[in-house]
């Protein structure tokens, strides 16, 4: 019981941080909006190539950008943890009887809330630019679940890394050197059938691919539910590993004190 309420109190704390930094919200939204607006225009005719199951690139691109933004958002989760470590806020929590897993879960719940809001904003943006889907509400719902499910493991890994290296530079480096290649080796921008053979193989192991696929298939007119569930289940397994690693890192941090 404590675990649930403590997680929620800690979620609210981080949400409060976000609400006090409207410029930060604007900044995080600018990049995906550029992707949608400019990239969507620039590569408009790419759908004339075979392999896209749509003739509207913006319809193809929007779920990809939503998932990609969820991925990058989750990568930054550790930054807040490092701030808490540096400022003594973490120690302040640890000398209180707060439920230890709640310290990690509070950030992940926050991440999930932010992901939903951000995804809905980007989805509306895509709609304005002409993206249309046959999948309806169920499709949007699955897309949101996929975005959250991808964010959780990477958010947890980011926290784990923050607790182990305790340097913001390392988290920034990891986000750029891991998440960027993952994005380009995925069907975010281009149909997977157009990728080189080795990249198709690599993309199969890419969690970003699982999330994009689940979202796109759900938004299509004839969703393949077994495939969607398989992709989501893979993401959840990955999330469990991430959260397990984060709790391990947390214990290691406490031992090193």
């Amino acid at each position: 019981m404590n675990f649930v309420s403590h997680s929620w109190f800690l979620t609210l704390r981080v949400l409060r941080h976000l609400m006090r930094q409207p410029w930060y919200i604007a900044l995080t939204l600018i990049q995906p909006i550029i992707w949608l607006g400019l990239y969507g225009q620039l590569f408009k005719r790419v759908v004339e190539l075979p392999g896209f199951q749509t003739n509207s690139y913006i319809s193809f691109l929007t779920p990809g950008v939503i998932i990609m933004s969820a991925l990058f958002g989750s990568g930054w989760t550790g930054m807040g943890v490092i701030l808490d470590l540096d400022r003594g806020v973490m120690d302040r929590f640890l000398v209180s009887p707060v439920s230890r897993p709640a310290i990690i879960l509070g950030r992940l719940v926050y991440l999930a809330i932010v992901t939903v809001v951000q995804s809905l904003i980007l989805f509306s943006m895509g709609y304005v630019l002409g993206a249309r889907y046959a999948g309806g509400a169920a499709g949007i719902f699955v897309l949101l679940i996929a975005a959250i499910s991808l964010g959780l493991p990477f958010g947890a890994l980011s926290i784990a890394m923050a607790l182990m290296v305790r340097k913001q530079e390392s988290v920034i480096g990891a986000v750029n050197f891991i998440l960027l290649p993952l994005t380009f080796m995925s069907p975010v921008f281009i149909a997977s059938t157009l990728m080189p053979g080795w990249m198709i193989t690599a993309a199969r192991l890419n969690p970003l691919n699982w999330a994009v696929e689940a979202g796109r298939v759900a938004l299509s007119g004839q969703p393949d539910w077994p495939l969607i569930l398989l992709r989501l289940a893979s993401l959840w397994s990955f999330a469990l590993i991430g959260i397990w690693l984060a709790t391990r890192a947390f214990r290691a941090y406490q031992r090193s004190a």
Partner: protein, 327 residues
């Protein structure tokens, strides 16, 4: 909240040892007894082991060996109960800069299981007590150092702890804020709270604490009241201001029969001497000087300072010790 059980010692630590991974021996058999209801100061330079001691006693860290009890509860076997009984103000402020004073206190209360009107009243009374009511709805980033430290202490008190840990509470504060905090710490103690504070300000330990432990290289090298510690040093120092310059020979012949005095030194009109009990040595000294025709303008008797005590027990002055650590 846990049932208050009476305890004789607010803190007991036996033979605490801890070596960090980089082979730095932080604690080397530290023993401590802090009487319930008192202010106890751990005095030592940076790196002496004060912060490690606090971390172990507040459950943030575990010793390699040894045992400790806080408020009668074993810190290794029952850390969760210890956390409910202690308040802690660490060196790094545990204040969330992006939240208001009110929000910081409320969250802390919530994590301690307070809610509803009980929580609201507690938050308001602490804001009031620390004169933060007017700043309560501002984010803590805008607070001065002194205000932030007060908020930090208020956060440590939200759940009515029985033992309060203050790790260098006045470091980095200006003299005015420091004096204000001293008053507040004394007031908390007079309300029955047991307080362990660490400091590397000799003056602070002297002013606040009923009992002081001098800690050097991970162990307690001397312990007692400030007066007792200083009393161990043989003698007070006397500083006598003479009306006019007087030769050393005159002084020596005048004072040679005053048995209580030793170590005369004269420089121009100022005479320095030591006496086992300064106050009792003054009258015969004045008589002897008068008899020799030496006029005295003023006499000052100074008790030894904690600085002298530190020098005696560790073989170095406080400044030297700090400089060594900082290298």
């Amino acid at each position: 909240m846990s049932n208050p059980e009476p305890f004789q010692f607010a803190i007991e630590a036996n033979d605490l040892r801890k070596t960090y991974r980089n082979n730095v021996k932080a604690l080397d058999g530290l023993n401590l007894r802090v009487a319930s209801g008192s202010i106890f100061a751990l005095l030592g330079p940076n790196g002496a082991g004060k912060s490690t001691t606090i971390k172990i006693l507040t459950t943030l860290s575990r010793p390699d060996s040894g045992e400790a009890r806080v408020a009668g509860i074993d810190v290794l076997r029952d850390p969760q109960r210890v956390r409910r009984s202690i308040g802690c103000v660490a060196q790094k402020p545990g204040v969330d800069d992006e939240c208001t004073g009110h929000e910081n206190l409320t969250l802390q209360g919530q994590l301690h299981g307070l809610h509803g009107s009980e929580l609201r009243q507690r938050v308001d009374s602490l804001l009031d007590r620390f004169s933060l009511t007017n700043a309560a709805s501002r984010v803590a980033r805008t607070y001065s150092g002194g205000m932030k430290r007060k908020l930090d202490i208020a956060m440590g008190l939200i759940h009515h702890p029985r033992v309060l840990f203050l790790d260098e509470p006045t470091t980095g504060l200006d003299p005015e804020a420091r004096a204000e905090l001293w008053v507040e710490i004394s007031r908390l103690s007079s309300e029955g709270l047991s307080i362990l504070l660490t400091t590397h300000y000799l003056e602070e330990a002297d002013r606040l604490a009923q009992s002081i432990a001098i800690i050097d290289r991970g162990r307690v090298v001397a312990e007692g009241t400030a007066e007792a510690l200083k009393g161990e040093l043989r003698g007070d120092s006397l500083e006598i201001e003479l009306a006019e310059p007087t030769s050393e020979a005159t002084i020596n012949s005048a004072l040679q029969n005053v048995a209580m005095l030793s170590e005369f030194q004269i420089a121009a009109k100022t005479l320095h001497a030591r006496a086992e009990h300064g106050a009792t040595a003054v009258p015969p000294m004045l008589v002897a000087l008068e008899a020799a025709g030496v006029k005295v303008a003023s006499v000052k008797v100074a008790r030894p300072t904690l600085d002298d005590v530190y020098l005696r027990h560790t073989g170095k002055t406080f400044q030297q010790a700090e400089a060594q650590v900082n290298q």
